[in-house]
């Protein structure tokens, strides 16, 4: 390739500036509150330079490891999900007149288009799944409105956590598609790949230099090494029939003894989509807002129908999560609902590991 | 003077915090019996504190009183830090003062507008008063709301806030949150300025009395979270010496204690604070006070309502001053290393001095605790005041008028009966 693809580290600010010039609100990763969190990004200096993440089941620590790199960590609790599928949003508002007449009014998000810097391959794979879910036969207009403007700058993952297993699900660590721009971080700068016309337009505004073959090879090696370093994996293939054949497996009860039924796994999972709706009327009763919030198959409300809770105990709730995530997703969306990001393992307060549970239930190699 | 016999019993006082009753019997034109009965059941807080970790103390003591939880947390924090020999540093001290300003603001605004004003304007409740004086009630509600939000900035919620800890705070508000708060504080200043004149213009009874004022005193500032205990009679002691001068007495009609200074009743709270700290008022507040024409130190107990208005203004100015200098700290708290020993803390709750003492073991577990809240300190003074006020008012006044005057006198102290009664165990320590 002849054209320039290398963005020196000192010129990284130009990426933020170019995106802002194009009218985007730019967010990127920052080290705050003990984790990598997305927040508005004005200045490259706000990137988590030198920070490393340590992740284990139920354990996350940021450490200042030094070095020039800003993306030398795997991921934080958030994927792209919160940006598109909001954890709490008003869907519509209704006003009731004195004669009892009601007027309904949708409350569409009115946010400037968003550019996210730092998305990982697993996040993009999850996004593709959420797109299928929310933009399928029936479009969710709220998700769609945000999705339309979304600009993604992916960063290939070179520092997987101990909890990561995207290589085994086939979703990473290299971001293959679904981005506008993708970066490979090197010590002194970034290799830039273009994934869309919008990406090309932004790239055209960057002071790119020619990349050497050595740089390109080095980047590829780092990604390959990242894949090789992953130790966790899911049993291969489609687990749907294996899981549904083992609905009585003793392991469901065993994991329920440990599981808090707290829903952290589903909340951090970038593909989980369950939500609940409720009304929030004003005290005087003249208006009401219809609000949706993230829900989880680990709550009681998820499965209650007048007086009966179909999944009252933890074992059937955990079973619902796993049979759905690794099983029913295949029927619903043509693939497993797990993209190997490991978040549910890290952010589970008691460190339950779905790869371990799936292996125990399906039996390795049986699927 | 008539020779009739009057028996007034108000079984449940309204517009005070907690449950109290008033009993007044006049025989042959003389007061035969007069008592502010406090019958709230004790909740044994000092006992619960025993065996708990120092990290739990702030969350426990907050529950003594829903109206002034910040005061309990601040007195406890300073006593525990005293025990551990810990100096939390200027950022924490400044932000504690801001946190405390929030509580003064909400508590005083609530008292002036919702609890006391109906007495002076002739209504049974603020809700009834709102029909004729909506602007007064709204001003009260909005200042109170601002105070609550200031507490929330540091504590997450205004009742039993969660943000404070021994050594400082768990969390520092962001610059953006502080900026937004500053804007609101500045916007509230005109209302607070007007409030001082308004309070002074209320038809307050004229009733000069002799009493001893006791308050904290700080080398430079109006006292809040730090200071020595001083009195209008020259007392000047460190909080650790409190027990050498103040003693409590248990009277049969009440389940609360009467604290006495050298055997005599005394006053704590806004009027006592103002009487003793006029020279510590910000210039602007002082000017507004002088413009009212009321001379301080004042011997009219009803000037407490003016003192509260003055302290609202002061709290706003102080919060603005301190937040204007706000910066994000490296850490919002200093590290705590427990050690065995005793610690004392006294701070100015909205209602007056709140004194704590803890004895801790080396692991930082509380072995003994003692807490003296403002209302039990004012209790003897309230009864003394009632007696004098009613005599001055005239015992031959109609029952309803007598009753109302008695209630007005009591409410003027903003007594917090919930606080007062949770310390009956104090009795024990001296048994």
């Amino acid at each position: 390739m002849e054209h320039a693809t290398y963005l020196p580290r000192h010129a990284m600010q130009s990426l933020i500036d170019a995106l802002r010039d194009e009218g985007y609100r730019v967010v990127g990763p920052r080290a705050s509150e003990g984790a990598i969190l997305y927040a508005d990004l004005d200045d490259v200096a706000e990137l988590p330079q030198g920070w490393r993440g340590v992740q284990q089941p139920g354990h996350y620590r940021l450490e200042k490891g030094g070095g020039a790199r800003c993306f030398a960590w795997a991921n934080g609790p958030q994927a792209l999900k919160p940006f598109l599928f909001s954890s709490c949003e008003t869907l519509w508002r209704v006003r009731r007149a004195d004669d009892g007449g009601m007027s309904f009014c949708e409350t569409m998000p009115r946010e400037p288009p968003l550019a996210v810097i730092g998305a990982r391959a697993c996040d993009l794979a999850a996004l593709e799944l959420q797109d299928q879910h929310f933009l399928g036969a029936i479009r969710d207009p709220y998700y769609a409105a945000r999705r339309e403007g979304l600009f993604i700058v992916a960063v290939h993952c070179t520092h997987p956590a101990e909890t990561c297993f995207c290589a085994s699900t086939g979703d990473g660590p290299r971001a293959e598609r679904g981005f506008d721009l993708a970066l490979s971080e090197m010590d002194d700068g970034y290799l830039v790949e273009i994934g869309s016309a919008r990406g090309a337009a932004v790239a055209a505004r960057l002071p790119l230099e020619a990349a050497s073959t050595g740089q390109r090879e080095r980047a590829a090696v780092e990604i390959a090494e990242a894949a090789a370093r992953q130790t966790r994996r899911l049993p291969p293939g489609n687990l749907q029939s294996a899981l549904f054949a083992r609905l009585d497996h003793a392991r469901w009860q065993a994991v329920a003894e440990r599981c808090l039924s707290c829903g952290n796994c589903t909340s951090v999972c970038p593909t989980c989509f369950c939500h609940a709706e409720h009304d929030a009327p004003s005290l005087d009763g003249s208006t009401s807002e219809h609000v949706r919030v993230w829900d989880s198959c680990f709550t009681e409300g998820h499965s209650s129908i007048h007086g009966i809770v179909i999944r009252a105990e933890t074992a059937p709730r955990y079973r619902q999560w796993l049979t759905h995530k690794l099983g029913s997703w295949h029927a619903q969306y043509g693939r497993s609902g797990c993209v190997g990001c490991g978040r549910c393992i890290t952010w589970c307060p008691v460190g339950i590991d779905l790869t371990e549970e799936a292996a125990a239930i399906c039996g390795e190699g049986e699927a | 003077m008539s020779e009739r016999t009057v028996s007034i019993h108000v079984p449940a006082l309204t517009r005070v915090e907690g449950e109290g009753a008033l009993r007044l019997i006049v025989e042959q034109g003389r007061i035969a019996e007069l008592a502010l009965d406090i019958f709230e059941p004790p909740r044994y807080f000092e006992k619960f504190l025993e065996g708990r970790r120092h990290t739990e103390v702030l969350d426990i003591v907050a529950r003594i009183c829903g109206i002034c939880p910040v005061a309990y947390q601040m007195s406890a924090a300073s006593a525990l830090e005293d025990a551990f020999g810990l100096e939390p540093g200027p950022w924490v001290q400044a932000m504690r003062r801001v946190f405390y300003c929030g509580e003064w603001l909400q508590s005083h605004a609530l008292h002036i507008h919702l609890l006391a004003a109906p007495d002076f304007l002739g209504y049974g409740s603020a809700v009834a008063m709102a029909a004729d004086h909506p602007e007064v009630v709204r001003r009260g509600l909005s200042l109170q709301g601002l105070g609550n939000d200031l507490i929330r900035l540091f504590g997450g919620r205004s009742v039993h806030p969660v943000g404070a800890c021994v050594g400082g705070f768990h969390h520092a508000p962001s610059m953006a949150e502080v900026e937004a708060m500053l804007t609101r504080l500045r916007e509230a200043l005109p209302a607070a300025e007007a409030l001082i004149g308004w309070a002074a213009s209320l038809p307050l009874p004229e009733d000069a009395q002799d009493f001893v004022s006791v308050a904290l005193r700080h080398p430079t500032d109006y006292p809040m979270a730090v200071g020595r205990i001083v009195s209008s009679q020259g007392l000047d002691i460190a909080p650790a010496d409190f027990e050498a001068h103040f003693a409590e007495e248990h009277r049969p009609h009440s389940t609360a204690l009467f604290a006495l200074l050298h055997g005599e009743p005394y006053l704590v709270g806004p009027l006592a604070r103002l009487n003793l700290n006029l020279d510590r008022l910000p210039v602007a507040t002082r000017a507004l006070l002088e413009a009212t024409g009321i001379r301080f130190p004042s011997r009219n107990m009803f000037h407490s309502v003016v003192a509260r208005a003055v302290e609202i203004h002061l709290a706003l100015l102080e919060a603005i001053r301190l937040l204007e200098a706000y910066s994000l700290p490296a850490s919002p708290h200093v590290e705590v290393r427990p050690r065995a020993g005793a610690g004392f803390g006294a701070t100015e709750a909205p209602r007056g001095i709140l004194w704590h003492r803890y004895l801790l073991d080396a692991a930082g577990i509380v072995r003994a605790a003692r807490i003296v809240p403002p209302t039990s300190q004012n209790q003897a003074r309230i009864e003394e005041d009632l007696r004098r006020s009613l005599l001055a008012f005239g015992l031959d006044a109609p029952d309803d008028a007598l009753r109302l005057r008695a209630e007005t006198v009591i409410r003027n102290y903003d007594p917090c009966i919930s606080c007062a009664t949770h310390f009956l165990e104090l009795d024990v320590e001296r048994l």
Binding site: G100, M102, F104, I138, F244, D279, P281, S288, S303, S304 | -
Partner: protein, 273 residues
């Protein structure tokens, strides 16, 4: 169009069916055309309180009114029960997949309902009776726990008088004088007079009853793929987004609520699904 946004509907008539069951007849305020298939449902919105999925009983041809029969069980339905003619509610729909009434043309149809399962099935009966000549024999089998639970008795009697219609009633508990069978509905299957190879069955009611009925009908020679049933799960969005109604891989709101027996056979009755 925003699938989440309700429209306004006015209650034109309210009928108390039993102490806890009532029927609302609704007119859409915007007057826009509204077409539905029997078995589909609407989300009814009670102002300031919330939405609930309720089957569409009928549209009372010509009048342009929508009929819903509702049992007052919880927050929203009890609140709806307190409304009367002239009151407004919100409505969105129709949602889901209804009964296979086109496929059933020319065949015998067996409708088996239990408890209050009758609401979704009434629309089947209405449709068949209105186009009577398009269908074969219609057998209506209704089971209730207690004889007193039977609502619309007069309606059953009227249906029984229609051409080629049989009504069989069963109650687990019944006082003397109850005209129907005492015991389980499945016991009535022996009396079926249908062309078993082609007949279609449509079931509605408690899941245990539907499972027993399907098994019984298969034993009578009905083909598994000709047995359909209507399912109920918690529903928030009704458009397959909220995830609550999942039944294994199916979204009840979108893939159902009417399913062919083979689609749900394996999971039906499994605790926790």
């Amino acid at each position: 169009m925003n699938p989440y946004l309700p429209r306004e509907a006015e209650i034109v008539e309210r009928i108390q069916e039993t102490p806890t069951v009532f029927t609302l007849r609704l007119r859409l305020a915007d007057g826009a055309p509204y077409a539905f298939a029997p078995g589909q449902f609407n989300m009814l919105y009670l102002y300031g309180v919330g939405e609930v999925p309720i089957s569409i009983v009928g549209d009372d041809a010509g009048e342009g009114l929508l009929t819903h029969t509702i049992r007052a069980v919880g927050r929203v339905t009890r609140g709806l029960a307190a409304l009367g003619a002239g009151d407004r509610i919100g409505l969105r729909g129709p949602f889901g997949r209804g009964w296979p009434l086109t496929e059933a043309e020319g065949r015998d149809v067996v409708v088996v309902t239990g408890g209050l399962g009758c609401a979704p099935s009434v629309s089947i009966i209405h449709r068949i009776l209105r186009r009577r000549e398009h269908y074969g024999r219609l057998t209506i089998i209704q089971g209730v726990k207690h004889a007193d639970d039977l609502i619309w008795r007069a309606q059953y009697e009227a249906w029984a008088k229609a051409p080629k219609v049989r009504v069989l009633l069963a109650a687990n508990v019944a006082p003397p004088g109850w005209g129907g069978h005492v015991g389980l509905v499945t016991a009535l299957f022996d009396r079926l007079e249908v062309d078993a190879g082609l007949a279609m069955a449509m079931l509605c009611g408690p899941e245990g009853m539907m499972k027993a009925a399907a098994t019984g009908l298969i034993r009578q020679g009905l083909a598994e793929e000709n047995i359909f049933l209507s399912m109920e799960r918690n529903m928030q969005c009704a458009v397959g987004h909220c995830g609550h109604c999942q039944f294994g891989p199916r979204f009840v709101c979108r893939d159902g609520p009417v399913f062919a027996w083979p689609e749900v056979r394996d999971l039906l009755g499994t605790r926790g699904f």
